[in-house]
Symmetry: C2
Subunit: 225 residues, 2 copies
């Protein structure tokens, strides 16, 4: 079997596992976010801000994907939120089976929002459906305005694009409007937030949107019972 056939089989098996995960998430009424970005764009920082903003209003849990170390899971646990660490070794993305294995011991009972923080990589995770409800891609302003054009698959498949570190825009000499225009060229349908986890600018709009997403899901889940 050649490399392409193996890759096709891997993605097919992943799709089956993702379908199982999605059924479980729907049964539990849990909104699940697959949070993706390049290394250092601010996935864990956005998670911490989101936990601080929403923990009094909704029940959150987190699955962390990293090559090594449980530094991120520890940051989440320090905020009093349940988190599970998946370490992938040299594997450059999470896949649906890794998430399924984590869910055997990590109960979703009562969890309204599960955030799965993927491995920091703007390419490979885009190919692996985890069964998520929403794909959220973070782009750090400091990475430059042309990133959506250069990594189009990741941006094209996103439901939400978060432009983080807006406080660094001037120092990084990046035009936020140009960055947003480049996102919209690759993906006209994505919801876009510009925010800074450091200053808090723009976070309220993101919180409000998430609360709406969770509320809609609860209504759907209640109607389905």
């Amino acid at each position: 079997m050649d490399r392409v056939s193996v890759q096709t089989n891997v993605l097919k098996a992943n799709q089956e596992a993702a379908r199982e995960n999605r059924r479980l998430f729907e049964r539990e009424g849990t909104v699940v976010i697959n949070l993706m970005s390049a290394p250092g764009a601010g996935k864990t920082s956005l998670l911490e801000a989101t936990i601080r903003g929403l923990r009094d209003r909704c029940h959150l849990a987190v699955i962390e994907g990293d090559l090594q170390t449980d530094l991120d899971a520890q940051r989440i646990r320090d905020l009093g939120v349940r988190s599970h660490q998946i370490t992938t070794g040299t594997v450059c993305h999470l896949d649906a089976r890794m998430v399924a294995r984590a869910l055997v011991e990590f109960s979703l009972r009562g969890v309204e929002l599960l955030v799965i923080e993927n491995v920091g990589n703007l390419i490979c995770p885009a190919s692996y459906d985890l069964g998520e409800s929403l794909r959220v891609v973070i782009c750090s302003v400091a990475e430059g305005a042309e990133k959506p054009k250069k990594y189009p698959v990741m941006f094209h498949k996103a439901d939400v694009v978060v432009l983080n570190k807006t406080d660094l825009a001037i120092a990084s000499r990046v035009d936020l409007r140009e960055l947003e225009k480049n996102v919209r060229e690759v993906n006209p349908k994505a919801t876009v937030f510009a925010l800074s986890c450091t200053t808090g600018e723009g976070l309220n709009a993101w919180f409000a949107w998430l609360r709406d997403a969770i509320a809609s899901r609860s209504i759907t889940a209640a109607a389905g019972t």
Copy 2:
């Protein structure tokens, strides 16, 4: 054949192609840098600064690796330097055979320094030897101080680690000393430069080091003829 065996075969074939490339580079007396980093850490900016700093003293050429677009190759050509674009589609790294194919039409005659700018990815390119003389990894200060611990394979294999965007350290709330300490914990042997392609701070030390690397290679090549 299972996925692991396919991967093993792929890496073995890559190693053979890398050996061929290395022989060619040595025959031509060309110092070859495999330049790697996460998206937006400043590979192309460092290349532009290096071209401006060294073009009057040495003969440079560039191979650009990107998923799509030839934006980077165009930036290099705008500086009057010969560059060749490899677009990988969805492949998340360059491999030695892609470089070998590029070299069929891209002559190295007289080239003292060839920089191969890899696809923006802090994981997968680490596994693929291109036949380079030196592995240079860029870490943007804005990515945070803990990146070397979280992406250890890439940092462990580096000959040189460039800490770029030092001008953003204060705004990013990143302690440069902590970042450098984390690099040294993962890789005590790497040569480390802290610099800013925006302000020019620290670039002269990098230029001097590169000139030395090129001079040493020329001596070796002359002795070998």
